[in-house]
């Protein structure tokens, strides 16, 4: 039955109980389910070997699905792989632009392989070179490019056929902080200006926090949590508010009575408490303190980070994961890469 090219899409990516088993017994992904809506930036967060790249490989038709179902841009990944490939742009971890070709040649090659009409491919290539600030380097061979330029060219190559969904696998891996920030800006612009749906994997927590509308944390092939970055942080107890008061009555009872406030502790006249959103509770707290005739001598609050969420979910910090890699995970990754 011929695959239809135009369909009404609500969720752009849908995965139901997606599993991947590498023979003989390596279960890389185990029953993951998630949904990515149109125009959303969805982050897949997890340590190396957690199953991020395998999930991307299944969704982009590079790896077979052992069990479960997945749809991308409304097409069944197993049965309509050709239509899936027409709808997606993939920016892999590796820098795959051809060193011996010029920047513009790489883009035009990518356009031809995605069946962009010849009459449009040069124009599209030039537009993308402009968008990614590569105009001046367009006629240079890629072997003369810096790492950041290669990464930008790689992203441009993934966009040359105007895909509905962009898969970014570790888009800023190995880049310095300046270049990384620039790549984030490009992703934001693509998402806002073109309404591009982005599915990205990363193990940079600040990247996921700053870019993604929603995040799923995957570990050992299983999705541990999935929500917006702010909700995930709220779930681990919210902000920690520190408030110092002038001498006077004990306000522990009062603080405990403020909605959503928990874990109130007191050390002298300095109180500490957890609040899901300090911005909402702060007016009530200040009003209550002032009514009781006390003066605020100090006030500060710290917001929880995704690192704390990661620690809570996986039992270890991301830095520990980056530093120490179990050899079997490396072996599995090497095998998958080849």
């Amino acid at each position: 039955m011929p695959e239809k090219l135009v369909r009404k899409v609500t969720a752009v990516i849908q995965a139901e109980n997606l599993s991947k088993l590498y023979p003989p017994r390596t279960r890389a992904v185990e029953g993951v389910s998630f949904k990515v809506d149109e125009g959303e930036v969805f982050g897949f967060l997890g340590p190396n070997g957690a199953g991020k790249t395998t999930t991307i490989k299944m969704l982009t038709t590079l790896a077979s699905i052992t069990s479960g179902e997945a749809k991308v841009a409304g097409y069944d990944v197993k049965r309509e792989s050709s239509s899936v490939r027409k709808s997606i742009g993939v920016v892999p971890q590796e820098l795959t632009a051809d060193d011996e070709l010029k920047g513009i040649e790489n883009l035009i090659l990518s356009a031809r392989l995605h069946h962009v009409p010849r009459s449009e491919s040069t124009k599209k290539a030039q537009d993308l070179l402009k968008l990614f600030d590569l105009e001046e380097a367009a006629q240079r061979r890629v072997r003369t490019y810096s790492g950041g330029m290669r990464r930008r060219l790689q992203m441009a190559m993934g966009l040359v056929h105007s895909p509905k969904v962009m898969f970014l696998d570790e888009p800023t891996l190995g880049l310095d902080i300046q270049t990384r920030t620039k790549v984030w800006d490009y992703i934001r612009r693509l998402n806002k200006e073109r309404g591009l749906t982005v599915f990205m994997t990363t193990h940079y927590l600040e990247e996921a926090d700053g870019l993604c509308d929603r995040i799923a944390i995957i570990d050992h092939g299983v999705i541990k949590v999935s929500d917006t970055p702010s909700h995930l942080k709220e779930k681990i107890g919210g902000d920690v508010l520190t408030i110092g008061l002038s001498d006077g009555e004990d306000l522990t009872q009062f603080f405990n009575s403020v909605p959503d406030v928990s874990d109130v502790s007191r050390e002298g006249q300095v109180y500490k408490m957890k609040i899901p959103r300090t911005e909402r509770a702060l007016p009530t707290i200040i009003e209550g303190v002032t009514k009781r005739g006390l003066k605020i001598t100090e006030i500060s609050f710290t917001k929880p980070t995704l690192d704390e969420v990661f620690l809570e979910v996986t039992g270890r910090t991301m830095r520990e994961e980056e530093g120490v890699q179990e050899s079997w995970i490396q072996n599995v990754n090497l095998e998958r890469a080849t």
């Binding site: 590796e94 090659l109 990518s110 080849t338």
Partner: protein
Amino acid sequence: MFGDLAALTGRALRKWIRNPAAVLPGLFTAVFYLALFGNSFNPTSLIPSNIGGFQLTTAELEQIRVSILSQTFGGAATYISYLTAGIISLILVFNMAFGGIDLVLDRQLGFLNTLLTAPISRASIYFSGVAQNMVKAMTLALLTFLIAVVLPNGLILGRGFGVLDFLGAMGAFALLAFALSCVFTALALSVKSIDSLVAIVNFATFPLVFTSTALFPEGGFPSWLLSISNVNPITKATDAARLLMVNGILSSAQLTTFAWDGVYLLVFAVAMALLGYLAANRALSPK
């Protein structure tokens, strides 16, 4: 599919043309074999002038030399004239075998995955590998032929050798190149590392060459080697091209031999294309 095939083949050839280091080793091999091996290992120069106290005159020596060339070396005017077709086959075999390294690199550097996520057919990936290696190897074959012609004491073409003979010889080489390219492209798409490819290629190419008539005439082969040589496609391509290059105008018997060699090569090429495609398709399918 043809647009994809053209795009991928164009990419590979553009890289090849821009990198003279990729072309020159093939040409050096041709020059070394023809100029050094062809001159130093000339069997007809090994005839002793004194046999059991009987001194041969220069005329007698020349007569023996001509007899050996006509009876054992298929009528070639010189050993290099005999050798040229074999050297071209040799260059085709080694270029096809090692041509797959670029494809393994494409896999290792992630370019192959980029292709596999693009809406192109697996067949275009496979046949672009075949086509790029064919073009590269046939360019070298043509250049080797020209080098042999212009080399001092080089290739002496048979009387009446014309454009059709040239096309016939190159056609035989092209069929061999296509068949070998199908085999080695499928192999390159199936292996995971360059080391594996080189190991298999080294294991396969030397027996392929040395069980053929590329370098030596079959007159000296033991019967078991002769049986292998007779079905070796390198023998078929070399003999077919050599027949034209050495003799020029063919007798009807020679023409029949040439035609059968051509049919054999054609069938072999089609079979390798099918088998290679099946193997490549399997290698490129999602795992």
